[in-house]
Symmetry: C2
Subunit: 406 residues, 2 copies
């Protein structure tokens, strides 16, 4: 079964806004075994939209349209569908009376424009909008066994209505077997080598690591591939869904009943800020010290002045003192620290851009890791924060081997 997704909105084709509904709809259709053969973004112009709908109907079995169902003059999806398939628009009486009641309650006049939100092409079934006032619709074209689905553009309205439409189209169940593995601590080349025999796989690289996406049509094959990939990647996998590293770490800290504090220089508060991102983090995050200046390192974190002078602020010694002292100051169970050169300036002959020392301590043992990461300032900081959070994760999951390898 083939589908084309049409997004309508002049703000998208004029480059003012990034559409995200296309990706959402496409992903869900793909997972249900539907072959998406296009995402088309149309301006809010009747001629263009009508033509795209005709094109899509010619070449696919399902046409999903998002946007253009509101009450203003640039909301033209209903008319475009009616034009494309050659039927009239009629009022859906129930939805119209619901609209009338609502507007009356709100003390707002129901104009022709507002009434139009209850219009659907003749023969279509409505999709009720659980949040907003515009209804959507499904129009099945019996003669050609095709269907058009019209949905609003606002994601909070569109998403439940889309799932409802899938249900009505008999596409509720996922038919494609898919798996996401989020991985940290392996280089692109090593990964390609490690998984070169895996066929249906895609990679998404970022400073936070690699998102590996697997898919198969056949369940048995899928389970085998999944198992193989999982075994090979081992503890480098930090999540098997869209979970972020800070959520994984937060869950582990909560389970073990441990608290954490950070001493940050290069990352400038990014590590603690990411930890605090997670709801409920007040249970285990005691706080953090951002010692961006040497004075702050010396006066507040009590790093020895002579060591900063001797080894430099970006050094193993300083990272070690930072992490041990911040743990003492906050009285936490574990702590992480970093000091480094995020760039674009600050390098010296023996300290290249991207050089970082990342410290970890549990009070019994302190380890300091040296990492060099090349990239933009923010990519470097994101990578180092991910590295530090990953140290906590590996410690808490007792993966001593990987912990030693960083």
């Amino acid at each position: 079964m083939k589908a084309i997704v049409i997004i309508t909105g002049s703000e998208f084709v004029q480059g003012r806004k990034q559409d995200k509904n296309g990706l959402f709809i496409a992903k869900n259709l793909f997972e249900r075994g539907v072959d998406v053969i296009g995402i088309i973004i149309s301006p809010d112009d009747l001629y263009s939209l009508t033509n795209y709908i005709k094109y899509a109907l010619d070449r696919s079995d399902l046409v999903f349209i998002s946007g253009g169902l509101g009450p203003t003059s640039d909301d033209i999806t209903r008319q475009a569908v009616a034009n494309a398939i050659g039927v009239a628009l009629i009022y859906h009486e129930e939805w119209l009376s619901k609209l009338k009641t609502e507007y009356k309650k709100a003390g707002v006049e129901i104009t022709q424009e507002r009434k139009s939100m209850a219009k659907i092409p003749y023969g279509a079934a409505i999709l009720e909008n659980p949040v907003g006032r515009a209804c959507g619709f499904i129009k099945v074209l019996d003669d050609v066994k095709k269907a058009i689905v019209a949905l609003p553009g606002v994601p909070s309205e569109m998403e439940p209505m889309f799932y409802n439409a899938l249900d009505k189209l008999g596409l509720k169940e996922k038919k494609k077997f898919t798996q996401l593995y989020r991985v940290f601590g392996i280089k692109e080349l090593d990964l390609n080598y490690l998984l070169e025999d895996v066929k249906n796989i895609s990679y998404n690289f970022s400073p936070k690591g690699v998102d590996i996406f697997l898919w198969e049509d056949n369940e048995k094959e899928f389970l085998q591939v999944k198992q193989k990939v999982k075994e090979r990647l081992g503890s480098m996998i930090y999540a098997e869904d869209n979970t972020e590293m800070e959520e994984v770490v937060g869950k582990l800290l909560k389970e073990k009943g441990l608290t954490v504090a950070t001493a940050e220089s290069s990352t400038g508060g990014l590590i603690v800020s990411r930890l605090v991102n997670v709801p409920g983090s007040s249970q285990y995050v005691l706080g953090g010290l951002v010692s961006y200046s040497n004075e702050a390192k010396i006066n507040i974190l009590k790093v020895k002045k002579e060591d900063i002078e001797k080894y430099g602020a970006v050094s193993e010694t300083v990272a070690k003192q930072m992490v041990e002292n911040v743990r003492g100051i906050f009285g936490s169970d574990i702590a992480v620290s970093d000091t480094g050169i995020a760039g674009p300036t600050g390098e010296t002959p023996d300290k290249p851009l991207g050089l970082h020392y990342i410290g970890f301590t549990d009070g019994k043992e302190t380890k300091v890791y040296k990492e060099i990461y090349k990239g933009s300032r923010n990519d470097v900081r994101l990578y180092i924060s991910q590295f530090a959070l990953n140290l906590i994760r590996l410690y808490l999951t007792d993966k001593e081997r990987s912990f030693n390898n960083g």
Copy 2:
């Protein structure tokens, strides 16, 4: 002049990756007065892509294609263009010999697939790739006065080649007059009321404020509208281009030679992390203290225990002590603080979700602002960090009136 932008990549239609090149190309074309009547995302399948190219040529003057120029079997853009317009593919001899030299140097065999990166449709002009190995091309169809431009999908390769293509097409200069105003400190309703007489305007709301986008075809009219909007918004405008609040604040701190420190509870390091985002921030960011627990507030920030007990951690008194004490600890010129309930839990009968106190001090005077912001945890934290940074901005630009209004 009309254009359609085609993006090719199965990863996009299968919902595995968000395309961003479409937005980039569309925005640039819009600014040059080109009417973009569609962004089409095609799978890497010869039949689909060829059909989209034919459709686009039928309905527009310019067709831009991004992606599918690499050496693998799913790189089909060259062939699809050749099929769509009915010409043969030929080698561009110069680019081919450049490729041969490069592969020889790298000790890599030049296969047929790799050679194909030097192929262009007969009669096309190449677009040299300053970064990668695949060349792009422009094919002008003289008989119908239309042109097809093929560009790689990797943004760092695509962008310079796209500008080069615009140049060759005589579209270098911007013809649309556009202006971005980034605004903080006004509610959606007030803004709509304030600017209801402005026609070509769009708003993009986020916790960081509102991005207002203006556009006009006529320069004189544009300058008038721009002036009007600027006057009405006054010091609520924090940037007139894509600059972030932390960059604006950083520039001002550098100019005035002042230093800053933060004491953060609810934002958990987000304020200092954003300040540190900016290259060169080590000149003015001394550091920050994230006192997420009450103990950290008491022991490290020296907030009075009895005041936390009496007023609660989320209170004007605590915000005041936090900001004054952190300024003392770091020895900075100015400081900001926050304490609040980011949610989703933590509310009490007299302290609703979203309640925050934000402190600012310059050592002479301390001000504490009360703000309630509703939204997801991260939206709340982003808003509060923006609010705090905006306080610094208003102080440094001496906008006393607005400063008092928050």
